[in-house]
Symmetry: C2
Subunit: 144 residues, 2 copies
């Protein structure tokens, strides 16, 4: 198994509400068939898919979706000063702040929000892992 | 908010069991401090983090972790013939098959497994979205 994740799918209850949330944050979707909404990221795509369709695809009851798997998606920023404004933007767009912007014990600066379906995002600045110019992340960073 | 996910964190109950699972599938970790295990992917990192530490970081009870958020991680392959062997490898490594390899209504070929903590992976071949030579994915593909 090569080291990649091609597509991250978020099961959602209201496709347009969810798409509007990410579009309000500044994302642009690509063309896709009805029933799926796709945002291209760096080398992968984030897809929005109805919970009902995801449940059917997996063969599980739709009621089984909605807990917290313990997966978080981190969006890293170039400066700690960008963290609080992005969290505020997420709240204004209909997200819920789970943890306000603050210093973290490991030396970074971060906060968390949940999207309209409860999917958990960490907004972070990690001074030890500078992003590439294109915004790519790797554990040991793109520093000189 | 730029379009990227820097880090995907999986909360796990047994760090070494989880790391062994991904290493058995062929992944190689990078150096990291005690308490976190990191696998660099394409432009992002997958991190394993103890559920207890994740719960503390989020300020939620650890018992609230373990449901199913409705997030799936897809690993796409270059050929449909690679799907079943990868699922078999995941099962042999300690995963659980959720859906055996099969054709999908949208014209692809896929199956699902859960990792030792129940995190859901889709293993797929999508003939409409060929991967780049480096394995990167985008919705409309890297075909000529």
């Amino acid at each position: 198994m090569e080291q990649r994740i091609s597509l991250i799918t978020l099961g959602v209850t209201d496709m347009e509400r969810s798409a509007r949330f990410y579009e309000t944050l500044g994302w642009t979707r690509v063309d896709s068939p009805d029933g799926v909404i796709a945002f291209d990221l760096i080398g992968q795509t984030l897809g929005l898919y109805p919970r009902t369709a995801l449940a059917e695809d997996l063969g599980v009851p739709v009621e089984s979706i909605g807990g917290f798997s313990g997966i978080t998606l981190a969006h890293n920023l170039r400066s700690p000063d960008e963290v609080a404004p992005l969290l505020a933007g997420a709240e204004a767009a209909g997200g819920r702040i789970l943890k306000p912007a603050q210093e973290v014990f490991w030396g970074g600066f971060h906060g968390y929000f949940a999207d309209p379906d409860g999917h958990v995002w960490e907004i972070a600045h990690n001074p030890f892992s500078p992003l590439s110019e294109a915004g790519a992340f790797r554990w040991l960073g793109y520093g000189e």
